[in-house]
Symmetry: D2
Subunit: 368 residues, 4 copies
């Protein structure tokens, strides 16, 4: 029942504040014998790292991760993996305004009312900086899942402008600053974001994460359903306000006939689905189809446009959030969403094999 | 890490299959000294009960709940509350087809592949019958929350036809068969559902749940965020494919200025929000505003229109799901959504007061 | 974090009071495909059942267990197993004294101070009646463990009179009323208990549980150590005041040389221990040797000798606990201890195979 | 279900190996607003620190703890408290023998069989070095408990030589190298240990921990009983083989009359117990009396006397464990036991106030 832990058998605990000396995490329950070093984690962190394009916060953090425990001679040992990243860019600045006032859309007031004390520097614990540890844990989770499972994320909408799925190209994701799989959309977004940035404004986005190669059977009904775990994982990411699986909210507008994922036997004896409205999950259990999930990220709350608020002394204030500006936090949420998906799946895999060690790994029907 | 338990300090465990002798649940962690009898639970079950209108399944279940433990002389004792409902309407029928084939959109294949054995009668454990226990637990949760907190649900869209919020009247919810707060929409839906029912089809829906009177401070970042708990709770409900908080997916299309919930001091010394895009939750913590959440329910998978599928012997089949037909399972999900919200909030309340026993119960700012 | 649940992956939740309508339990996480019916559970309950000899409480309970969910056509389905036993012998009696006064050695005062309300009938939730559900769950756990693992308990001391290990014969356990493996001791105990019973007194006992056929690797350091789980399991049994593993407290008086379990290779390539001071557990992990654990049960607190106490109105009282008298509750704790050991081991087995699915099942050394 | 976490609401997770770069821990769920700095933790670590007398390991570790998160301006913020101690004395040495052979009494073989890989340097994760983090967490737990609660430990037996309780003086504990409350016993032990050390042998010990000022009501039956939590906590400490509460194993030899803790009303309206055989816990719930618990520590397994064992290649070996020698690991277990007691009580306190926020804090009877 740990507030700062996620997962059950593949269990991630994080600690650290935006402007403290370091952030860190512990991955407990990782199977032994997996090859793991910092080099396996760093590339994923680099993808999430701020300061890499003009569209994300300019905080300069090398985000160099250290593995402090849990490996020996390059292999995981089954003991907890301690991870740490030192905070470098704690630039000396005046926190007066943020210390005194509650930024609209931020956790400031909520933390103040709940805890009474609040580390206001850069948002403290509520900062998206915490997500670096999720990405690090996700890299470990990928090791658990093995190379047969692919988890990829993309930004599929920005400020209401959606990608055209006909243009979808996973290769495009690495080519632009938005993790956008549609080159045409990426071009539009670039223009749009430049304008928003100039205006000191911000915009929301939708992230899609697709996991392929997933065996059937992951997920544990009723309350450990795979989709429920994904929903919790995604909703725990900063600024996320919605989560959907497969057809998602659009399913609410469909008829039963249209939403059915019909099935046929394939020549190789496996069950083939003729559609994937379900997003790879039925009854809370993976079906062997790709797991498809999306989450909505609200627009960055820190903007250069003055907003009405109050301060801790109960005075009305008009507040402009100065400092590094990130016009679309949804962009950096892509690697975070991938990481959370990896963690959820690794956890579900361990749970599944605990209960059903000899379960089938494909949709080939067991004889009976 | 129980698969069939929900919550942490207010902890609900359910058991039972659709056509077994009974379904039941255990509510653990309930505070002592609360007045509780079957009469406190039965009305909520009656609201969810099947067979009450022509738009829901015609299964006839009195759904009479018995409290088997945890109360003494009308008061909760702090020990686990055992609840049970006997299954009455296990009508004798031929399960041949459903036993042999995997119904598209149902958990059949997933359970078959995961577990190898499957109680196919009425969907077994994956049946929505399990939600009766959620409603019973929700009734207990309401006792924990007390009378100052109101939790109400409504159907806000059916088959893509949304309510007009200008017409919203909570009183209307009890007047129609849809829990619809917009009388005009209810009239349209009635017509629409009759046609769908006649056609043997079905349709999806969106449910909104609003909790008012919530104190600030509920929710425990990072991974016990109130919205993450709600997301998990709602996504665990049968047929749910999406969850959103406050503005939800629409937030992804807004700018930071438009999405900001600005604040001003009220004359009584409390902080007042000028909008509620956040749905009452910031940084995973309740702000004192109404908590607003929605979930999307897919169309009923059991339809009278033939769909392509396979059987357990690996043969292609075309399947019509006979039996009781429920053209919009989203309707009965309304009381379930309310119950899950109640359970999440009761749990969050206990967690909050464990860590911060003297936290403020309003947005009146603490002096400091 | 459920107060009334035990275990992690093989998870048992119990509910019910001594004199309520029923007691029950839920076993969650049980693997699918195991043959299970009431006939697998009932014999273990019969062993624990009261009223079977003159040395245990004369409450007459058939203790007929019903499986209400989680099996289908004689096999476990992987869904929660709901278990229930109706309470039959809730004899009409005057609870005046026990309702008003706090029995020394019982939970009465503690429950009263903690919860404010208290089901005083027969001790309510604190009654040893709850242990029937542990025994039922233990029967399921034995199914999970399979026939290669044997778990047996025995009473090894009563009132300070210990068995002579030279006389140990497991066959003797079923021959006397004490689960005593030493026929000579059993004869002495019979005489002793008859005298104590006549005097309205009671006496404590020590129970030993031995599990054989345990694979190495069970237990998860640091805080999920197998011995820590056993300690928690045993200490949660009513009236238990001490737990020890292997040499236990006697190890505190040994030297390192004497306490070392030396090793040699056996001709079959397995590691053989030359002693078992460790009780089959090193570093919290099973070694493949028999797991040996003991627990101390205090004398029955309900005695016919007057003791000084107070009542709920703050008046001094002298109290004789009338009613059914059980001169040595330690006797009936033997099947309960076995059951808890079975539950702990089943849970550890599932945890172990989640993390290390291909771990060796004997002490044959892996090549490396 | 984290293997390396302890507690529920006051939750401690540790990581790190004996000879890795650092060891660390995370304390989650700590209430906000408590004054906390390194200076609050360091003295407790200093008490546990090796190399302080000739009777404990000569490893030289300053054990300087750093708080990396969870505090702001000297106060806890309610967010996870990250703690770290760098390992300094990882002396360069030849691990050949310990890398190849399995030391009797150590976790070597068990880890090898379970995990396949093993960090053999100094015992890796199974090293008692991990207990430094327990002591650090215990210091935080003491803050949660407040100054009204006193937790003190003492060594009450060494190698079978027990203290005389008539000589008990808490002040003596700080005066000798053994945390011994009996000056006469301390003198005898000094002589004894010098001889054992010279002989390269070792000896076991018994530690007693007493917590005073405990309010009634802590502990949550049935499976979260306070004594079950203490049993698990103590048994998880390295080398512990037995745990007992109050009278403990001695209770098994008593009659019901002798074991009863009789009660009388005190003039101030509180219930007074006339004895404390129960060790302050009845029915798993604290009674307001001092909580008294003991644990048995086996003799140090690393001794300079050759023992028979095998190596990883399946060869018989005779092994002398060279290196720093600790003739009685029980000594350093005293501060660890205190810390575990503090953690258990802090956790129980949070759980109790979550469920029963207005429970009485003394044995003064509520009016009803």
């Amino acid at each position: 029942m740990s507030h700062n832990s996620f997962g059950h058998l593949f269990r991630v605990t994080t600690w650290g504040e935006s402007h403290g000396p370091a952030i860190g995490g512990v991955v407990d329950g990782c199977p032994p014998g997996l090859s793991l070093s910092e080099a396996d984690i760093q590339p994923w962190l680099d993808r999430r790292r701020p300061g890499q394009s003009k569209f994300v916060t300019q905080r300069q953090e090398p985000d160099e991760v250290r593995i402090l425990s849990g490996t020996f001679e390059g292999l995981t040992t089954g003991t907890p993996i301690g991870l740490m990243i030192e905070n470098k860019d704690q630039r000396s600045r005046d926190y007066g305004e943020i210390a005194e006032s509650f930024r609209p859309g931020h956790a400031d007031l909520a933390y103040h009312l709940k805890y009474g004390v609040r580390d206001y520097r850069g948002g403290g614990r509520s900062s998206a900086r915490e997500t670096a540890m999720r990405v690090a844990a996700g890299a470990v989770a990928r090791k658990v899942l093995g190379t047969g499972i692919t988890i990829r994320g993309a930004l599929v909408a920005m400020g209401g402008d959606m990608v055209d799925r006909a243009n979808w190209d996973w290769a495009a994701v690495a080519e632009n600053d938005f993790f956008c799989p549609d080159r045409a959309a990426a071009a539009r977004w670039e223009e749009k974001l430049l304008a928003l940035r100039k205006a000191g404004s911000s915009v929301g986005a939708v992230v899609e994460v697709v996991a392929e190669g997933i065996p059937p059977g992951l997920g544990a009904p009723i309350y450990g359903k795979l989709d429920a775990e994904i929903a919790s994982a995604f909703m725990s990411i900063n600024a996320v306000k919605g989560v959907e699986i497969g057809e998602g909210f659009a399913a609410a507008a469909l008829t039963g006939e249209d939403n059915a994922d019909e099935m046929r036997m394939a020549p190789d004896g496996t069950v083939q689905f003729l559609a994937n409205h379900a997003g790879g999950i039925l009854g809370g259990i993976s079906t062997g189809q790709p797991v498809v999930a999306r989450f909505a990220v609200k627009p960055t709350s820190s903007i250069l446009v003055a907003r009405r608020t109050v301060d801790r002394h109960g005075q009305d204030r008009d507040l402009v959030t100065k400092g590094r500006h990130d016009p679309c936090v949804g962009i950096r949420a892509v690697p975070v969403g991938e990481a959370m998906m990896a963690c959820v799946l690794a956890d579900a895999l361990l749970r599944h094999r605990a209960q059903v060690p000899d379960a089938p790994v494909s949709t080939r029907l067991p004889r009976n």
